[in-house]
């Protein structure tokens, strides 16, 4: 994946975006992972860890929840089954991170074992005692602290959060790690979240590639949309070329459409994409993507377009009821491509249309749901393929 703007510090923004995906899937506020990362790195520095271990703690803290992108979407899991599915999240996260070049090598294993418990009741491996890497347990301690801190919203009490940690001494956390965290808390609480001293520009890390790979994994969570980003990218690029837009940006934006699909249930895709039913769900997905992209400046330029893919050309779409050229061109382009792809998926399931009916229906929606120019460009792009 070529960099769209080679001068940008893509590593930082890619990590922020990936972290935000983990936050959303884990049911946390946006920024949770980055907060864990910063405190974990400062905690490692306080313990006198070498620079590479500090960096690995940072990246592992930021990306600790990313494994959830490989968790299959389960509707109707029992509480026990859901817990067991969650056991694999650290392993998935470790494998995802191990596939990325450029991150400190220890990052993957810190993620793999960050949910192990000192007493041997953690997951995924039920490691116990000193078999758990100290740094992985430190990340878990920070994660638990931040979680306790955020659980009370604006009424968070750091002392109470610390108490939650201390109460798990000898169970989830070793005596040593809790003692170290208490010292860290006592000496450094005011500067807990001071920017960590991390070298962002890691050699070989492909930020755009990492985000694209994560989006592909998100698509793969449900059979119907598996490979959608990869399918749409060349179509979007061809449409953009025909319309005088940047084909690389269009192709990348097509891959980013997966970012909206972070909900456990996906009602937006249960409806005919050309019907008004399901607009709210599709708009909610679009807003999720927009919100996520907003956390990372290098990707923020895609946010307005991804946030408007559920708008209708005639102004009756959602969430803002924008109309005509007020809708970003990339959003109008993606709206057609997404709808066509959804119709093809439904046709293959024999739910609604047959494949030959799809261009006819798209043409019929030109001027109301879709920009007619985009429908024409789509037909041309598909014909060219």
């Amino acid at each position: 994946m070529p960099l769209l703007r080679s001068a940008e510090p893509v590593t930082a923004d890619a990590v922020r975006l990936l972290s935000a995906i983990g936050d959303t899937l884990g049911g946390h506020r946006l920024g949770f992972g980055m907060r864990v990362a910063t405190i974990a790195a400062n905690f490692a520095a306080q313990r006198g860890c070498p620079a590479e271990m500090v960096a690995a703690s940072f990246y592992a803290g930021a990306l600790h929840g990313i494994g959830a992108v490989r968790t299959p979407i389960g509707r109707g899991y029992s509480e026990r089954d859901a817990a067991i599915v969650n056991w694999d999240i650290p392993v998935h996260g470790a494998l995802i991170v191990a596939e990325q070049r450029g991150l400190p090598p220890a990052t993957a294993d810190y993620i793999r074992w960050h949910r192990e418990a000192f007493d041997g009741t953690g997951y995924p491996d039920r490691l116990r005692w000193n078999g758990i890497p100290h740094a992985a347990m430190a990340i878990n301690a920070v994660r638990a602290f931040v979680e306790a801190l955020e659980s009370n919203g604006d009424h968070a009490s750091p002392a109470e959060a610390l108490f939650a940690l201390v109460g798990e001494t000898g169970k989830t956390f070793s005596i040593q790690i809790v003692r170290e965290f208490r010292v860290f808390f006592a000496e450094r609480y005011e500067t807990f979240e001071a920017p960590a001293d991390i070298a962002w520009e890691t050699a070989g890390f492909d930020g755009f590639g990492a985000v694209a790979a994560l989006c592909a994994a998100l698509d793969a969570r449900e059979e119907r949309v598996t490979g959608r980003g990869a399918r749409l990218a060349p179509i979007a690029a061809a449409m953009a070329s025909a319309l005088g837009l940047d084909p690389e940006r269009a192709a990348f934006a097509a891959r980013l459409t997966a970012l909206g699909r972070l909900h456990e249930a996906l009602p937006g895709d249960d409806y005919d994409p050309l019907s008004r039913l399901g607009r709210e769900a599709r708009a909610a997905d679009a807003r999720t993507a927009e919100r996520l992209l907003g956390v990372a400046p290098a990707f923020a330029e895609f946010a307005p377009a991804l946030g408007a893919v559920a708008e209708w050309f005639d102004g009756s779409g959602l969430p803002q009821r924008r109309a005509g050229n007020d809708i970003p061109p990339l959003a109008r382009l993606l709206a057609v491509a997404l709808a066509a792809d959804a119709m093809e998926a439904l046709a293959q399931l024999a739910v609604t249309d047959t494949l030959p009916e799809i261009p006819v229906r798209l043409a019929a929606a030109a001027g109301t749901q879709f920009d007619p120019r985009m429908v024409t460009a789509y037909a041309a792009a598909r014909g060219r393929r």
């Binding site: 067991i84 074992w113 009741t121 995924p124 491996d125 001494t169 000898g170």
Partner: protein
Amino acid sequence: MIDLNERTRRISGSRLADLFFARDIGSVVDPFMGMPSHLNYLKRHGIAVHGGDLVDWFVRAGEGMIVNDFTVLRDSEVAEIVEMLPGRIYPVDLFKGWDGVFFSEEQCAYLGVWHANVHNLRSDGQTGLAIVGLWHVLCYWLQKAHAPDDMADMPASELAWRYIRETERLVCTNNARNTVRRADFNTTLAARKADCVYFSPPGKNAAKKADARVWMWEAWWQGNPYLNLEQYYRDTVFGQRTSDEGSYDRAISTVLAAAKDYPYVIVQTTAADAARFERLLAPHRTSVETVAPYPEEVYVIGKC
């Protein structure tokens, strides 16, 4: 107060799963399984697992975590384990030898009660789960003896309840037959056929250096606070004869020879010992490779 090991071998089921999936390994035998958490992970991911050990409580734990596909302990059954049942006579003095040495009088009484209650369970699966759960209580007590002010005081029955209930999560099925046996490696390896033999070899004089939490729990399970684990290994190739390097190498070679019919052998070791195991594995295998994620976690993999 008893010394607790500062170093613990990291046996990671998820790491093994990565190695297995990369090599299409669908079944494994571990003749020195110890606490079979790693086999439980592999079972949960569809791999048929078979284990063996000479320490009985490990095998009983395997009955609960490996062989058992469905049976859990319900609340009423946990209640019957953690507290004295009216009308039953308990051997509360059974572990009096540990009183004031490792545990308090109350803790020793609980150990006696739990010993009797667990032995009265009717299902092997439930017995195994209860043994695993209560072992965590023993570990907590021993750890707390080291740092009494750092760890919370919890009533024994509450601690036992928490840890036994937690074992429910270990119960899973992989639609395959999984086995454990109390036997030496020869018997275990001869009894099963699988794609791979995995083992983390016992160290030299392993029985003498066994973690207190391991031998004490065997003593608890056997109802003999003076039990000595060395007696289990006395007549095996890993008995006292392995105290020198040459004897230890011969013992490992015996295991590798017994595994000759298995397509893969994976030996987990450390960077310091990797060269030794590569050398020992080479005569038994056509190719040997080493995967070393960490200096303290090295896998020497031999393929037929």
